[in-house]
């Protein structure tokens, strides 16, 4: 067999620009240079403009006395506090709305999502009407509706709705009785913590017993009993004395108790009812993504209805639900900035409006506000990602 000359063919030397690796690097370098130049241009221009306009700049204003009051605050605050404290008040107020909103929107969303799948015609239609109406009206309009329309229909202070002497509802907000505890009450807290530990232990033991013997233990009712009885006994033994602080009419307004300003109530209602529509659709999609074969398989194994949902359907549905649910939580947090329309002192209202205006540090304040929302969102989304990884399907 004739051996062919297979001497290697030198590839034709061409421009190094045709090398995909080199070219890729070049493009990347070019992009970086352009972005850097743009950032430099903006920064330089800003500095030049600020200097030209003789504007005072910097972050020192955080330590200045703010001089304004805030309607609703979770931490002590007065006009003598600093802008830094006002900033904190704003962040906490935003976080309060976010936490309340996320909790109740999830609850309502899950309920409506399941209701949408109900075999009961009326329930599923009602859920459908709710979802299709509320998710198709802009949130800002809903907030304004809750605040201005619902508020206007509330009675004046002297004609307040009063339920059971303790719950007062009027144009100035919702007042609830406040339970005042004394030092002895620490025992009750201790008992509560103890009973939670006991329940966890009980649950583990019941699970083991179920796997070993197949016998069920009524964990739920036992846990409920422990949760009620243990703190109650502790309360009785320690001789703690509880008193109730009721809201009473004092001058122009009710004082005492827990007062929720109508701005907070309206904002929470608006955000909850709006976000819950999206969550319910996500939940419905998640449940429907689990094929009917899974239900049949669970039935074939002899699982009861509750267990079938809890052990087979929901874990699989959660994989579909969690990622878009995280987006909804982020949306809710960011949407809370619409608070400014209805006078709730959130971060945007306190910091980006009043503080910005009184100090004139526009760029600093806007930048910090964006940074805060970014931080809140990243924290939420990293928690949700962690949770998602935890519940992800593990192939065995």
């Amino acid at each position: 067999m004739a051996v062919q000359d297979t001497s290697r063919h030198e590839p034709q030397r061409s421009s190094f620009l045709n090398d995909p690796v080199v070219r890729g690097r070049l493009y990347q370098l070019l992009t970086v240079v352009i972005v850097a130049a743009f950032v430099w241009f903006i920064a330089d221009n800003t500095a030049a403009n600020l200097a030209r306009q003789n504007k005072t700049t910097g972050f020192d204003f955080f330590w200045f006395t703010s001089g304004f009051d805030i309607q609703f605050s979770l931490i002590p605050y007065s006009r003598a506090s600093t802008y830094g404290t006002a900033f904190l008040v704003g962040i906490l107020n935003t976080m309060l709305v976010a936490v309340i909103g996320v909790f109740f929107a999830s609850l309502l969303g899950f309920m409506v999502g399941i209701a949408r799948l109900s075999n009961n015609f009326i329930i599923s239609r009602l859920a459908l009407i709710y979802v299709e109406t509320l998710r198709n009206v802009p949130l800002l309009l809903q907030l304004v509706f809750w605040y201005f329309a619902v508020l206007k229909s509330m009675p004046g202070v002297r004609q307040s709705f009063i339920f059971l002497d303790g719950v007062v509802l009027n144009q100035r907000g919702l007042y609830l009785p406040k339970v005042v505890t004394d030092a002895q009450f620490a025992w009750v807290w201790g008992a509560l913590a103890l009973s939670i530990v006991a329940i966890v232990v009980l649950q583990r033991w019941a699970h083991k017993r179920l796997e070993a013997t197949g016998q069920r233990f009524p964990v739920f009712w036992t846990a409920l009993g422990v949760l009620v009885v243990l703190p109650l006994v502790a309360g009785l033994i320690s001789g703690t004395h509880l008193s109730v602080d009721l809201p009473v009419l004092k001058g122009f307004n009710y004082a005492g108790g827990i007062g929720l300003p109508p701005e907070l109530v309206a904002l929470c209602l608006g955000l909850i009812f709006y976000t819950a529509t999206f969550i319910s659709e996500i939940v419905r999609a998640g449940i429907q993504s689990v094929s009917y074969g899974q239900t049949e398989a669970a039935q074939a194994l002899g699982l009861r209805d509750g267990d079938r949902l809890r052990l087979v359907i929901i874990p699989q549905a959660m994989r579909v639900i969690i990622p878009p649910l995280a987006s909804q939580y982020l949306n809710l947090t960011k949407n809370s900035s619409l608070a400014i329309a209805i006078g709730y002192p959130d971060l945007v209202s306190v910091f980006m409006n009043t503080t910005l205006n009184q100090t004139g540090r526009a760029i600093e304040v806007v930048f910090i506000t964006m940074l805060v929302y970014l931080t809140l969102s990243l924290a939420t989304s990293s928690f949700m990602n962690w949770y998602n990884r935890r519940i992800a399907l593990v192939e065995r």
Binding site: N45, A48, I340
Partner: protein
């Protein structure tokens, strides 16, 4: 409108970043052919649009006066309605050329915001309004009250100072926009509403039943309301300031829009200088020498502006008070044009 607020605030802050240095404001204004004037979202007597979006008010008249001095055309003005949160950014970022928007002249605003106040169109003070049936006759009776106020105003700060000094507990209810403040007060959210006394009178005219409301006697602050311009353009500052002085001077000399043409042949040297008959006071400003004549011819003097918009014969029904000329017991005073 409030998404708008947030977006505009952010956009205006960005505007600070990307507006390039420009020539003088007067050249820019002449080149575009109109004046950009920042006004309120609607305060009767000061700046308020009608059904056809034609603006009127004493502060609108000031914008028109500047346009008359520059273009000899009082209508060459574009109005931008701004809330309290947007106003200074709009001015310093170059979105507007002059801010004529019930804005109180304070030291910190004058020295840290990169703006300069050029005059005082209206000497005002902060007051409180309550419903009559509340039975309150003094601000001191407002202990425990909810008070509606607009965010980022001097009134928000004055109120905190005043109540703190008098050890009165209260709850501020703060809105970004004035329409929301008024709606919340009228809707019963607050016991009292506070802003400049003239503003209270203005807003009361728009309530369904103005007679149900009473303005309390205390005036708790000084609120000199005047126009402002960007810092760093001395010529533009001079134009803004002397337009204000010219309308005061015209009132003092008895020159009105009705008699200004006869006054052209006046023998009074002061009137001759004001109307550009003798000497040329316009050119140093970059304007025509009959700049003041144009203002008075097209709009009128300070008294005419006051009477037409906020005076005793209007719905506002305000007396001149301290806003009278210095010759009539007030404090409005213009340096001589000579």
């Amino acid at each position: 409108m409030h998404t708008k607020t947030i977006l505009t605030t952010a956009a205006l802050a960005l505007g600070l970043s990307i507006t390039a240095a420009s020539a003088g404001t007067l050249e820019d204004v002449k080149a575009k052919g109109y004046l950009d004037c920042g006004v309120t979202e609607g305060v009767a007597g000061f700046s308020i649009p009608d059904a056809n979006n034609e603006w009127s008010g004493i502060e609108v008249d000031y914008c028109r006066a500047m346009a008359a001095a520059i273009f000899n055309d009082a209508d060459a003005v574009h109005y931008t309605a701004l809330n309290t949160g947007e106003r200074f950014l709009a001015l310093s970022s170059g979105k507007i050329d002059v801010l004529s928007r019930t804005t109180t002249w304070t030291m910190s605003r004058d020295t840290t915001l990169g703006i300069d106040f050029t005059g005082v169109m209206f000497y005002d003070g902060q007051g409180f309004m309550v419903r009559k049936d509340l039975g309150v006759s003094s601000v001191k009776d407002l202990a425990g009250a909810n008070v509606c106020v607009q965010a980022g105003t001097t009134t928000e700060l004055n109120m905190a100072d005043y109540f703190s000094a008098n050890a009165i507990e209260y709850t501020p209810v703060v809105f970004a926009g004035r329409p929301e403040v008024i709606a919340a007060f009228e809707g019963g959210r607050c016991d009292a509403y506070t802003t400049d006394a003239s503003g209270l009178a203005a807003d009361r005219t728009r309530f369904a039943n103005p007679g149900d409301y009473v303005i309390l006697p205390e005036i708790i602050s000084k609120e000199p309301l005047g126009p402002s311009v960007r810092q760093g353009d001395d010529n533009w500052f001079n134009i803004s300031r002397w337009v204000y002085f010219a309308i005061l001077e015209a009132e003092e000399l008895g020159v009105t829009s009705a008699n200004v043409d006869e006054m052209l042949s006046s023998e009074n040297p002061s009137i001759k200088r004001l109307l550009g008959v003798e000497g040329d006071f316009g050119t140093p400003l970059g304007l025509d020498k009959d700049w003041a004549y144009n203002i008075i011819k097209l709009i009128g003097n300070y008294a005419e502006m006051f009477d037409a918009n906020v005076g005793p014969d209007t719905a506002m029904g305000l007396e001149r008070g301290v806003n009278a000329l210095w010759t009539k017991g007030g404090i409005q005073y213009a340096p001589p044009i000579r």
